[in-house]
Symmetry: C2
Subunit: 153 residues, 2 copies
Amino acid sequence: MMTIYSDEHFMKEALKEAHKALEKDEVPIGCVILSQNRIISRGHNLTQQLKDVTAHAEMQAITAAANTLGGKYLKDCKIFVTIEPCPMCAAALAWSQISEVVFGAKDEKKGYSTISQNLLHPKTIVKSGVLEKECSQLVSEFFKNKRASKNHK
Amino acid sequence: MMTIYSDEHFMKEALKEAHKALEKDEVPIGCVILSQNRIISRGHNLTQQLKDVTAHAEMQAITAAANTLGGKYLKDCKIFVTIEPCPMCAAALAWSQISEVVFGAKDEKKGYSTISQNLLHPKTIVKSGVLEKECSQLVSEFFKNKRASKNHK
């Protein structure tokens, strides 16, 4: 019998990834990609550590998922990401033809929807607001602490 | 004395990269990134070979350039790319804060400007039409040959 997990279950897994980023003093964003209800890749933001603006959680997870599946398209896959993808990641998800994108909290400043909804593939299902508060607080507290430590220097 | 090369000179270097992609049966797009008039990274499309939708010429060159410079921002850099960047690559170039983007030919279907000019950083200078015909023909002939070989199967 296959256990059907809830969206919250997978968003918690994405949050675990975000916490890994936090431990490395990175903007805490994390994600997981599923194929047939099974996690096939994980990613967390590593832009500082890798000194690479392209090292967003989603970009790493897309590459890893394709590697696991042995093909570049993620047609029957689903991504759970703590924060709304940026335009780069949304466009990468569009190239991958991923079937569903679930994000926790909106990114009012840098989210893809600030530019255009058309950055995602027209067939991709989008869902948001899963564990919204936890996902958003993690990032806002990170930046609050950054500002506080800057003011004390 | 420093030799100042023309835009055509660097676009020819980007075309050399595009030809490397063609030899590997990849959509022939190539680029080079300069810092202080010197090429610090090169890239060509490898999405098929790497089975990775994110393996566009620009994405690889951005990562490599940052690696060479030892920092994630490409503020004083310039990219020469044979075809107008897609939304993913344009947004990655925006994150990198690259100072100038020069492309050969427009991509009427998948270029970033089909979605929004705002995908690039507002301070980034954009120039197009350098060796336009060569850049565009390389891609259109690639697809023409693909269709012809498909019809003969």
